[in-house]
């Protein structure tokens, strides 16, 4: 049984939801899992494996993510570890792999930590959960990229089967 730490950098709570789903899958396979936010992350020394999930805010992963990675780069490099990115762009079939997803490539070009295990998941579109400005900017972007624009849209673009596969990869890491 491994001590696994899942850290989320979440704005509206959806990346946390994916982490909690992963936790349930891993606990079902006798793993000991702790889920925490970036701000409340405990000492990484107490864990065998560390995985970080981060969402996109205003076109990029949050600065706190890069700062956390920089502050813990030695521990992240020396343990089995991985990273997943959650974005609406990853709903598109040609943007839903680490190699083809712009945000993942952006992350790899800017991060000092280059994890071996990478994945991208589609995010959650919940217009009523956003403020008026964010809602309308996202609707405009969706209109340009041929996505849903109905202001009452609430849809999860996450491929949960892919999340299950990622859970298996965490166990095997």
């Amino acid at each position: 049984m491994s001590q696994i730490l899942l850290i989320h950098s979440s704005v509206h709570g959806y990346t946390q939801k994916i982490c909690e789903y992963l936790q349930r899958q891993l606990v079902a396979q006798d793993q000991h899992v702790t889920v925490t936010s970036l701000a409340e992350a405990p000492d990484l020394a107490g864990f065998d494996k560390v995985f970080i999930g981060a969402s996109i805010r205003h076109g990029k992963h949050r600065p706190a993510l890069y700062q956390f990675i920089e502050a813990h780069s030695a521990e992240l490099e020396n343990k089995p570890s991985g990273f997943f990115s959650v974005s609406l762009v990853a709903r598109k079939p040609h943007k839903n792999t680490p190699e083809t997803n712009t945000y993942m490539q952006q992350f790899l070009s800017q991060s000092t930590w280059k994890p071996k295990l990478l994945q991208v998941f589609g995010g959650n579109l919940d217009y009523q959960g956003y403020g008026a400005m964010d809602r309308n900017i996202i609707r405009f972007i969706m209109w340009m990229t041929k996505g849903p624009t109905d202001p009452n849209t609430k849809v999860e673009f996450t491929d949960w089967h892919k999340v299950d596969q990622f859970a298996q990869q965490i166990i095997e890491a």
């Binding site: 704005v11 701000a39 205003h58 076109g59 990029k60 992963h61 600065p63 706190a64 890069y66 700062q67 920089e70 502050a71 762009v89 712009t102 945000y103 490539q105 952006q106 992350f107 070009s109 800017q110 991060s111 403020g131 400005m133 964010d134 972007i141 340009m144 990229t145």
Partner: protein, 170 residues
């Protein structure tokens, strides 16, 4: 606890509030007529510019705290610790026609960091103009206008970078 909850709610809206107030103040600035001090017969836009500006100065301070807390200042001001490698990588990429990525300590974050500095200079010069002795007020007025023009330049660059980012969404 209540203060923490309020800060949590405000924090995610600070960027939008700063943009909104900055645009309102910039767009209405041609209609204001203030010299040394706010006159007793000042019009609505004069009063709005002074008190809306002071409110925006407070927002600017909170926004600066937001982006600098928990060591995040290193992501926006890496030049303070001479950590220039990501910037040089982005500049080399630009010379080969590659647009820089957002995040990390690269060119885009450094530009955003400079934007925050200019915003603070606009706020500071405006606040000093407000409290300054009338004999110095015109000097602070001219500084405020100069920094505001620099900030308008930053807003244009920031907007262009945001538009360029849209290419990633297709």
């Amino acid at each position: 606890m209540i203060l923490q909850q309020f800060w949590g709610r405000l924090e995610v809206r600070l960027h939008q509030l700063v943009i909104l107030m900055s645009l309102l103040l910039i767009c209405t600035s041609p209609w204001i007529f203030i010299g040394r001090q706010l006159s007793p017969h000042a019009g609505f836009w004069d009063v709005f510019h002074v008190y809306g500006g002071l409110f925006t100065a407070v927002l600017a301070l909170l926004f600066t705290y937001h982006i600098c807390s928990a060591g995040q200042w290193r992501q926006f001001f890496p030049w303070l610790t001479l950590d220039l490698k990501p910037l040089l990588v982005d500049l080399r990429g630009l010379m080969h026609g590659e647009l820089p990525h957002s995040g990390g300590k690269g060119l885009i974050n450094i530009i955003e960091g400079f934007g925050v500095i200019v915003l603070l200079l606009v706020a500071l010069s405006g606040a000093i103009w407000y409290v300054a002795d009338p004999s110095n007020a015109l000097m602070w007025r001219s500084y405020h206008i100069l920094f505001a023009q620099a900030f308008i330049g930053f807003v244009v660059v920031h907007f262009i970078l945001a538009i360029v980012h849209i290419r990633d969404l297709f």
